[in-house]
Amino acid sequence: MSLELTVDGRAVFAATGGRTFDAALPVVLFVHGASMNRTVWSAQARWFAHHGHAVLAVDLPGHDRSEGPPLPSIGAVADWLIGVLDAAGVATASLVGHSMGSLPVLEAASRYPSRCARIVLLGTSVPMPVADVLLNNAEINSHAAYDMVTVWGHSRTAQMGGSDVPGLWITGGGMRLLERGGDGVLYNDMKACNDYTNGLEAAVRVSCPATLVLGDRDMMTPPRNARALLDALPDGRMIVLEGCGHMMMAERPNRTLDALIDALT
């Protein structure tokens, strides 16, 4: 089940977690990471949609079913997220973002405090620098960039499998999502992360409760790198998922859901 919206004159696709969207309910807006799409939130979106919430799991511009091009900066994505709420007739929502998606959620909560009830930032750090080797390979659309994200993005344990979802090969699914992103998308998103330098200034202006969710085996945004962000948030706390890497919704969907329930209900 889904909602098709228009923001800035371009079509936006949002999954609604298997229920008809009802803006009168508490709304949760899910924002995916670099070169991913809404399907990374499948289980979590379905749970909230079936437990008293209205869900929008968006494809960012230029990602899967939302019209492009991809937005070039974290600030632009933050403004676009509020545009999504406007288009859906939502005054206030809880915003949930993973990895790159966590940065526009942070920025939106800073810029538009009245629109954000709570925020949850998963697999996050401020700043979020991207290794030159990854950025350079992403720029030339080399498959090596997808390999780096897939290997660094999953704990060593998850690279061997052991999925909570029967029969799904964790890293295979992540790789296909990256490949589906298409040329230029990963580079656009990684560069936006790399260029975002406003995170700590934004954090101090966040007035709503903020929860950070980190995996203790995360090689891309290890929990120690989120410490400065946690300290800057006026009402922040951190949940650490044991044995989990960066791609926590794929590695530990149930524990990730539990963390979101803890943060949002």
């Binding site: 089940m1 889904s2 999954a15 298997g18 799409n37 399907t39 499948s42 289980a43 979590q44 379905r46 749970w47 079936h50 899967d64 079913r65 290794a131 080797v133 090596a144 390999d147 780096m148 897939t150 290997v151 660094w152 344990t157 690279q159 061997m160 499998g161 052991g162 999925s163 909570d164 979802v165 029967p166 029969g167 799904l168 090969w169 890293t171 295979g172 699914g173 296909r176 999502l177 490949e179 589906r180 969907p253 149930n254 859901l257």
Partner: protein, 431 residues
Amino acid sequence: MASPGHPRFDTLALHGGQKPDPVTGARAVPVYQSTSFVFPSTDHAASLFNLERAGHIYSRISNPTVSVLEERIAGLEGGVGAVATASGQAALHLAVATLMGNGDHIVASGSIYGGSHNMFNYTLPRFGITTTFVNPRDPDAFRQAIGPSTRLLFGETLGNPGLEVLDIPAVAEIAHEAGLPLMIDNTFASPFLSRPFDHGADLVMHSATKFLGGHGIAIGGVLVDRGAFDWEASGLFPTLTEPYAGYHGLDFAEEFGPGALIMRARAEGLRDFGACMSPANAFYLLQGVETLPLRMTRHVENTRAIIAFLDGHDAVGSVLWPELPSHPDHELSKRLLPKGAGAIFSFELKGGREAGVKFIEALQLFSHLANVGDAKSLVIHPASTTHQQMDAAALEAAGISEGLVRLSIGLEDPDDLIGDLKRGLAAASRA
């Protein structure tokens, strides 16, 4: 940071899909011989059924031991996921039933396992699904056979029993130009010798009974999805792109993206058709997969030794093995199967059918039975067994003569195998 690397094939064959049991610390994969799994709460139960939480409900749908095998094969093939089934035939049926229905059409290689041929040619038409068989050596024949109702192209990495090497890249391109997926039966090669996804295929199936298990003690199948085919863009697969009333209006492609087919195959196919794999069989098959790289290497080495003995032998008319320069697909084999052309091959006895009978009956080490890919060497006469339902024209089209004998080379000492073959050939010569 150093350039990263994925876990390699041999490592995944041992560890893929499994971590030590968190409760007991068991290093080996435990056999979860349980039909069902306790729900911690009613809400948790509802969440499992509604795909809000991941986990196991009932072993017809999924089982922790079976899931390890599914993940391991998915990892070895390079897919996004897999569904293990009661047999290879169940895996093939699961794919067909998930992708299409009454009125739809398949284009398949004419040189495939007899059981698959039976399903396509005799059984599926009763359910409104028809198949056109084409020469696997003619990729353009696949293109010519595609019609408006076609929903799948199908072939085997190595044809049965002629060992035609399918030009997977060429056929995949033809399939994709038509907005169709290509499914490959990779049983004869195993992912150690060929990964069809690397060549553009979209779905892979195995009879896990063969090389994956290797021990000949458990029947099983696996369906693997690469997760790259864009069902939505194709527009030909409503089972994956339209709301499914049988699961609360779920649109699988919208909800699960690359995992759409695997999720539908499990949520509907295993739920409704029920051809699931037992946890005990999954355990047995996992024991085999652990040594797949070692076994396949030895299988190929032994086969090369046997071929060297048979090729040019006075009693042997011809030997069909893609590594031989005389095989029509020799160059293609070098490109697509660089680690070896498998351990199953056919040869023609000069004495025809009678020589074939004498040959098989004289063998003492080779076992005469209807299987391949065992650690033990096997022999069979296709015209009277695996392909007996095919009429003369179909047999000829599949390259099967009455004197054709198929060998599956095992892991015995190659000198002992050659000794046994000498015994058989001597008997055949006297026929």
